[in-house]
Amino acid sequence: MKRLLVSGFLSLSLLPLAACSNNSSPNSSANSAAQTKTFVTGAIPDQDAEKLQRLYGKLSQYLEAELKIPVSYKPVTDYTAAVTAFKVGDLDMVWFGGLTGVQARLQVPGAEALAQRDIDAKFHSVFIANKNSGIGPINDVKELTALKGHSFTFGSESSTSGRLMPQYFLQQAGVKLEDFKGQSGFSQNHDATIALVTAGTYDAGVLNEQVWQKRLQEGKIDRSKIDVIWRSPEYYDYHWVINPSVKQRFGDDFPQKVQAALMKLDPNVPEQKEILELFGATKFVPTKNENYARIEQVGREIGKIK
């Protein structure tokens, strides 16, 4: 009997719990961007989250002041999740890479590429190699065949500079993924690629040139162990993509307003300079969907876009 009482008590006490969670739901769904007046931004996690958090905190403040609406930042932990969150409408505007931006636009009809950094129209990847591997400098794309028979790592599967374009250049040289020793790796981010090639886990690897330059300046690279063997030709990379749903919520001209606010970031104003520095840019410039036609074409060739 006592046990029955206990189980009765148990089920009774669970009822209000269920009720609580239902009551609290209007509050928590306030987080969901689609229904409210908050403009939610996000970014692919290509660098460490602590820095992203600081960067986007500042950017949100700036945009809030410029656009006169609440702006928030939602951290996302992987590239695919960022695209998915944009697709379902949890993120209104995302800082995507070249490939992820195209993937996102293809899944959200009406989404627009809005702005990018000055460096993004002429972006490069660098191929690096461990000195012990015996891979020498490469002068032409055709010479990438030197990598055959060596172990090799990319960055994230969906990275434009750490995977898509490098694989495309390798393909042009006639190097297939099966030509590498063992399986080609996916280190997941640019810093991890540097570490794994330094350690010799992989003979060679490829990453975003901007990250490489920055780590060089910071003195974090042991050049007695690794060095650049080839710098790729240029291509379009990172950019802001905005969801068309913002037009219903904030007005038809809202994407233009956001674009103008991003353009207005001025390196002469100390606070804005900090934002630009965290982005690694001197200024933002407008961009458009058509700029990424080549990325889309390469994406289809490599099989990252179906």
Partner: protein, 553 residues
């Protein structure tokens, strides 16, 4: 069981030989005899990682982050456990034989009802939490609900299976007596079978909580936040001092939950965790009544956890979720079978990885289990003469901490560390999985050893048999069959977990799944998932068959 040609070999010897051949083939598949596997250049990096363990980052900011991340992981585990036990309790009744046969008296329906519920539950169980998480992300978006459901659904199905087995193995005489004397079958069920099985059900629920903590850490890696996420971030940015702070937090969290769970189970008088192949009825002590005072605390804990992580339950049936679900179904159909040829070598790799992982886990677990059990302590089973010296307790502590470290750290993190000194391939994945499961198996082995039937061993000892011979002829033969059963069961888990090490590039089907996920190629993804399900069922079937044949021998 054994075929006529093998009549002179016992089934266990036969399976043992098959097992050894499988391990050798898997090693060959991993490339062990064909190429260099160890990368000597990586040792400085490994050393930096190990050296950081003695000076973790203890700055105020980081400790605050650690505390918050630990609370998040704990809260996810509590919510996940609560929901999976709820699902398991309901579904478990409906897929128990006793419910269909005795309570519903549906003898004809039995085959249909009982087998169909079991078959349906096999699917959510075979899919790893991580895949569930990625699926829910597509229909619910960025919400804590995703991680909670990702734990609750597969764990609910596993719990249902175990609960139904517990119910079926509980003696039925009291139930039948009540039913035959005219009590309504459902009332009889609630008054006899349920209270009888209650302790075992509760004991298993505690074990599920330990599993949920580990799972919450893994889900952190794909974005649920908490300790798993922080660990992955600091590992990728090579901040080893911070990494170790998070490791220690995970260690304390896992250790704390394990100790609390063990204490509670001991108080309840049900020391054994999951009675996998013992068909003797468990000792049924009258539970300490004080235990019921824990229920309000548990309820408060669950409520607090839900409040802390704030899952948006309204999303479950919302129009947006419906629409997104339709969308994902549409984009996944029709399945694309063009990549089928690729699946075969990858499936072989996946199975090889799981075999190597379980071989590592079982042999490592075996080495650490006996030192980690209390049998060598003064007054313990193998130290009856009470030689009190410092060695056994220190050995016990070291072995237990090593086991805890192994199981607390998620398998993909182990794999990433192993990648420093091994060349990429399935071996780093297998070692990562092996180390993590070693911690779990070793703990289970140690518990089996501590719960051995005492009288025969005491008799041996009292007859003047030296401790070493008691160990060899008393302890080992008594523990081995149960060790094997646990190992086979864990092999099934390893198979499912190959998905998560595939995520860090360890190869096999998990690798392909990651690639297809990041290409949003759901039509091919669904075929790969199908292959994975088939492999999981195959491994479950082999493992079940071996267990049955070993039990009958």
């Amino acid at each position: 069981m054994s075929r006529p040609a093998f009549r002179f070999i016992s089934p266990s010897l036969q399976w043992g030989m098959i097992g050894l051949v499988a391990i050798a083939l898997s090693l060959w598949q991993a490339g062990l005899f064909q190429q260099t596997v160890v990368n000597l250049n990586g040792f400085p990096l490994l050393w930096r990682f190990v050296a950081a363990s003695v000076h973790p980052d203890l700055s105020y900011d980081l400790l605050a982050t650690t505390l918050q991340a630990s609370l998040v992981t704990l809260a996810y585990a509590v919510c996940g456990t609560f929901l999976s036990v709820t699902i398991g309790a309901i579904a478990g009744v409906f897929c128990s034989e006793v419910w269909w046969l005795e309570v519903l008296r549906a003898k004809r329906l039995r085959y249909f009802g009982f087998h169909s519920v079991r078959a349906i539950l096999a699917f959510p169980r075979a899919i790893h939490e991580l895949i569930w998480g990625l699926f829910f992300l597509n229909i619910w978006g960025l919400d804590p609900l995703v991680a909670v459901a990702a734990i609750a659904i597969p764990f609910g199905a596993i719990t249902a299976k175990v609960f139904s087995e517990i119910l079926d193995e509980t003696p039925r005489q009291p139930l039948l007596t009540l039913i035959n004397s005219g009590v309504a079958p459902i009332t009889a069920f609630f008054y006899t079978l349920l209270p009888q099985a209650f302790l075992n059900l509760l004991s298993y629920s505690f074990y599920r909580f330990e599993c949920s903590i580990r799972s919450a850490a893994v889900l952190g890696i794909i974005g649920a936040g908490g300790l798993g996420y922080e660990i992955l971030l600091s590992l990728q940015s090579l901040r080893y001092e911070q990494l170790w702070t998070f490791f220690y937090a995970l260690l304390i969290l896992n250790g704390g939950v394990d100790i609390a769970s063990a204490t509670l189970r001991h108080q309840l008088g049900c020391a054994s965790r999951i009675d996998l192949n013992s068909h003797r009825p468990t000792k049924r002590n009258i539970p300490n009544r004080r235990i019921f005072s824990l229920f309000p605390i548990a309820i408060a804990g669950v409520a607090l956890s839900f409040w802390y992580i704030q899952p948006d339950l309204s999303k479950i049936g919302s129009p947006r979720s419906q629409q997104l679900l339709n969308q994902i179904v549409q984009t996944s159909l029709p399945p694309n079978f063009t990549g089928m040829a690729e699946l075969i070598p990858l499936s072989v790799e996946t199975v090889a990885m799981s075999v190597l992982a379980i071989a590592i886990a079982a042999s490592g677990g075996l080495l650490l289990a006996f030192p980690a059990a209390q049998i060598f302590l003064p007054g313990g089973l193998l130290n009856r003469r009470g030689k009190a010296n410092l060695f056994p307790p220190v050995l016990l502590a070291v072995a237990r901490i090593m086991l805890l470290l192994c199981r607390a750290i998620p398998a993909p993190i182990w794999s990433l560390v192993v990648l420093y000194i091994l060349f990429p391939g399935i071996l780093p994945g297998a070692i990562g999985l092996g180390l993590h499961n070693l911690g779990i198996l070793g703990r289970l082995f140690a518990e089996v050893t501590e719960n051995l039937e005492q009288p025969p061993l005491k008799a041996l000892s009292a007859g003047g048999t030296p401790d070493s011979l008691v160990f060899l002829y008393g302890v080992l033969p008594a523990t081995m069959p149960r060790f094997l059963a646990y190992t086979l069961y864990r092999w099934e888990v390893c198979m499912r977990e190959t998905v998560i090490v595939g995520l860090v590039g360890a190869g096999g089907l998990g690798r392909l799944l990651t690639e297809q996920l990041s290409s949003f190629d759901y039509q091919s993804l669904i075929v790969t998932l199908g292959a994975f399900l088939a492999l999981t069922f195959l491994v479950d079937w082999i493992s079940g068959r071996v267990r049955r044949s070993l039990r009958s021998s």
